[in-house]
């Protein structure tokens, strides 16, 4: 099992390397930070001077090697506008994003799993149909639209919640719903179909024949088995959440890295964009790694099939 995890970690590192390289070149090919920052009528000599100062005049290959050399020393570059280390700029935004995405992730699980189970055990009933209708709606609504809808109803119409801000726990409610609804909808749907399949399995019938109560069958036998295929979906979900947070943070003026990324891209703050993308990529890679390991923990068959069992 240890060897398998090592291989997975090596793969994750490769992914990370490729992402960083890709972003580095794409950013430099698609636009010049100096002309984006300075007014159009700036003296070209000044612009050239700035480019020289920031090392942007050198060949791409040299810049790339330089970039990695700095990275190795923990130097993520500086912002062009105020000369601060890019890493600091990004790090100070991370807690807000973490708060939003972790809360949304919990919301996805807490709403998705029970709804899926509820629909499965009431298959064909009006409860099932309601949950599935909600699921389709939740998945189909673009999250920026849902966010604006929530603001219009809860903030503008009924004045229940503030439209933006991040100081209180209640500030989280609308962003979390906005960000988590699509995920919860997908999870509910997957949990439902996985549960339906498991509930038809011979071991469920055998447990019933031994007199196990329906409640214990559902929660202690069926759900753990049904959760195995859903774990893969949860892995993807983390990616969706991070991608979605960029939009959601913009809608609710949430001071996280999502908004920072948008700002940095428009002002071509190369170091900041690179650092944010690296962080996002790293978190996705870590999430998928966790899912892979979780698989091995939950499903003994995977553990032993790897050929290095206990």
């Amino acid at each position: 099992m240890g060897k398998m995890i090592l291989i997975k970690i090596l793969r994750a590192m490769t992914t990370l390397f490729l992402v960083v390289t890709f972003v580095f070149f794409v950013l430099r090919i698609t636009g010049d930070p100096v002309s984006a920052m300075m007014p159009d009528d700036t003296d070209p000599a000044i612009m050239d001077e700035l480019r020289k100062q920031w090392g942007l005049d050198r060949p791409l290959g040299i810049q790339y090697i330089e970039y990695w050399r700095n990275l190795a020393q923990g130097d993520f570059g500086i912002t062009y506008r105020d000369g601060r280390p890019a890493l600091d700029t990004v790090l100070e935004r991370i807690p807000a994003t973490l708060k939003l995405s972790v809360s949304s992730f919990l919301f996805v699980l807490i709403a998705g799993f029970p709804l899926g189970v509820l629909a499965a055990i009431n298959r064909g009933s009006s409860i099932d149909r309601l949950v599935m209708a909600l699921s389709v709606t939740g998945f189909s609504l673009p999250n920026f639209f849902l966010g604006i809808l929530l603001i219009l109803i809860l903030s503008v119409q009924f004045r229940l919640l503030p439209a933006f801000g991040s100081g209180h726990w209640y500030n989280l409610i609308m962003p979390v719903i906005t960000l988590g609804t699509a995920g919860a909808a997908v999870i509910a749907k997957f949990v439902r179909s996985s549960m339906l399949e498991v509930l038809n399995a011979p071991y469920i019938r055998a447990a019933r024949a031994r007199g196990a109560t329906e409640k214990s069958i559902i929660w202690t036998i069926a759900l753990p088995n049904a959760a195995i295929p859903v774990i893969t979906v949860i892995g993807f979900m983390v990616g969706t959440l991070i991608g979605g947070s960029i939009v959601t943070e913009t809608v609710f003026a949430w001071p996280g890295i999502g908004r920072l990324l948008i700002d940095a891209v428009t002002s071509r703050e190369l170091s900041v964009v690179q650092t944010v993308v690296m962080m996002i990529a790293a978190s996705m890679v870590i999430a998928n790694l966790t899912v892979d390991i979780l698989y091995l923990v939950i499903d003994p068959r995977q553990r032993f099939a790897s050929g290095s069992g206990e």
Partner: protein, 615 residues
């Protein structure tokens, strides 16, 4: 609404009594009747065999007794259990408390019936805690004790294993241990040995029998195998189309069956003595299409006009023997022996010195994660034109791999595989195309060997299309000839695979295999998924075709009873090695190898002789 109640405990009282059980599926009024007025009784310490073809309602009867049928099922009638609770009738909540404690059930696929992601120890302990209400550490001891009672080879090791790490036989023992956890007075066993190898089956049967002796529990043993019934049961109830058509002691049923269906079933059984199984015409009707009156009458040899008019009621022949039939078999008909002794002499043989098929020291390796696995090792077999060879072995013996070597699906790693003196070409090569015309395969599951979206007829013709033989009209004509040869009609050719029964579908597969006029047919468990009544008729067909088309056969099977009536020679395989090879008569009468002897001794067989009532 069905009433469940309990019988106060006393010796000799029934462990289970089912009265007038009817089960409908779907709407309570208009739904299909699955079980129609079934009554049966199992005494304490008695094993009742519940037999019949698939679709006769055996399993549904058991599930109904447990109250385990889902919401779309409607049950009526009374189910009385022996129990110390002394309650008169039970609601669904009380039923839950009865399950596991008074009545337990084991199933066919034991491995799939255990939670795949929990260790066996944990599953057992949890069940013991729940059913016996004792503490965790005590329950662990009880779990270990239960595994010892089911004679698990290494109970300690088993506690720490997952179901997928155990064999099917070991898992069936675990299932039985789980069933015993609540000290039930009744065990429902639904085909518990059907998926097991014959030696393991024999061990499990002995285990169930000895547990019955020790605990005095009653057992309902559902099976389609009359050999198993003969081995283990005290009494038998024969079901057909949701009704019990005959019941009696095992001796009465096996030796003097009175219902034509019972006799049909018995005559369908292949035996070690080489009786040619006889089969029953037709198939079990779907519940919605059951015949008015006696449901069996359309297939019955003795049916007369009154059979169709009303449903026969149960008549008692003597204290233990009863049937539901208007025209029971007479003494003479009962004793009429089934066809015996197969005559394969009129199969055309030639004395060509080159054998049709010749495997010499052939081995076959499979690559696995842990390196090479030798599935077949150093096998030498030869088959002459017109002969039929049985390849016998348990699962994992390599018998199917030998089939693959012959078919050119796998290449031999060492040694050689020759057909008509030439090396068997590998699948995918140009030479294999030509070779495939001479050697064809009949696999186990006929439905899987057809494309579900193309008519059967078109698929029978397909080999001719591939090899560009004949005009469209000739191909069509050839298709109809073959449909006729396998006992189907041209109309069957226009149907899709799901529109025909399993037996008819297998016939169509045979027709397709024959259309290129092959010399050798490989039948890989070709009848294993069919009912015995249908199997007997497919065997008949294969024999007939063997003579008609001058075929040689390689018959791959786990069922020793089957081969005696079909093959001239038999090769016994074990763990990839050839254990023994001989003429069929010699091998059955004087098995040389210890393993062959063990195999033969484990086969559940039916008695050879029939007696009349006074005999």
């Amino acid at each position: 609404m069905m009433q469940h109640s309990t019988i106060s405990s006393s010796m000799n009282s029934p462990a289970l009594e089912i009265q007038n059980l009817s089960v409908r599926f779907g709407d309570a009024e208009t739904g299909a009747t699955i079980i129609d007025d079934v009554s049966l009784k199992v005494k304490s310490g008695e094993i009742l065999g519940l037999v019949g073809e698939s679709g006769s309602g055996k399993s549904v009867t058991c599930l109904a007794a447990l109250g385990l049928l889902g919401g779309s099922w409607h049950t009526e009638g009374k189910v009385r259990l022996q129990s110390s609770h002394g309650q008169e009738s039970m609601n669904s909540k009380q039923l839950i408390s009865v399950r596991g404690r008074d009545i337990a059930m084991i199933f066919q696929d034991a491995t799939a019936s255990l939670n795949p992601i929990k260790k066996i120890g944990k599953q057992l302990t949890n069940t013991v805690i729940r059913l016996q209400g004792i503490g965790k550490s005590k329950a662990k001891q009880v779990a270990l004790e239960l595994l010892r009672r089911v004679e698990m080879a290494d109970p300690e090791e088993c506690l720490h294993s997952y179901p997928f790490q155990m064999s099917g036989g070991q898992n069936q023992r675990v299932m039985i241990a789980l069933a015993l956890a609540g000290n039930p007075s009744l065990l429902l066993a639904d085909e518990p040995t059907t998926a097991l190898d014959v030696i393991v089956q024999s061990q499990i049967l002995k285990l169930i029998s000895s547990l019955r002796n020790r605990t005095g529990m009653g057992v309902v043993f559902v099976t389609h195998d009359l050999g198993v019934v003969n081995e283990i049961c005290d009494t038998v109830a024969v079901m057909y189309a949701g009704s019990i058509v005959e019941s009696g002691t095992v001796q009465q049923i096996m030796e003097s069956p009175r219902h034509p269906y019972t006799k049909g079933l018995i005559d369908s059984m292949p035996t070690l003595k080489g009786n040619l199984p006889d089969g029953i015409e037709g198939q079990v009707p779907a519940p919605k299409h059951r015949h008015w009156g006696c449901a069996f009458s359309p297939r019955c040899v003795k049916a007369e006009s009154d059979c169709a008019r009303s449903k026969p009621i149960r008549t008692v022949l003597d204290e233990t023997h009863s049937i539901a039939c208007f025209h029971p078999l007479t003494d003479k008909e009962v004793t009429k022996a089934p066809r015996t002794k197969v005559d394969l002499t009129n199969v055309k043989k030639n004395d060509d010195p080159v054998p049709l098929l010749f495997l010499e020291n052939a081995s076959c390796d499979y690559a696995t994660r842990k390196g090479k696995f030798r599935a077949v090792s150093d096998i030498t077999i030869s088959l002459r034109f017109g002969e039929s060879l049985a390849l016998i072995g348990e699962s994992g013996s390599g018998k199917s791999t030998v089939g693959k070597l012959i078919l050119g699906v796998e290449a031999s790693s060492e040694g050689k595989a020759h057909f008509e003196g030439k090396k068997v070409p590998l699948l995918g090569t140009a030479e294999h195309r030509e070779f495939a015309r001479s050697v064809q395969l009949i696999p186990q599951n006929p439905y899987l060997s057809f494309d579900p979206r193309v008519t059967i007829g078109a698929q029978i013709e397909e080999p001719l299309d591939i090899h560009r033989i004949g005009s469209a009209r000739e191909r069509h004509q050839r298709r109809n000839e073959l449909l006729d040869a396998v006992g189907l009609t041209a109309a069957h050719g226009d149907r899709y695979p799901h529109q025909v029964s399993g037996g008819q579908c297998q016939r169509a597969v045979i027709a397709r295999a024959l259309i290129l006029e092959p010399k050798l047919l490989i039948c890989d468990e070709a009848t294993a998924s069919l009912d015995v009544s249908v199997q007997a008729r497919i065997i008949d067909l294969l024999r007939e075709l063997q003579i008609k088309f001058h075929l040689s056969l390689v018959f791959i099977t786990h069922d020793l009873r089957l081969v005696r009536s079909v093959c001239n020679r038999v090769a016994v395989l074990r763990s990839g090695k050839l254990v023994e090879e001989n003429e069929i008569e010699s091998l059955f009468l004087k098995p040389q190898h210890q393993y062959t002897q063990e195999l033969l001794a484990s086969v559940p067989d039916i008695p050879a002789e029939r007696k009349n009532r006074n005999g």
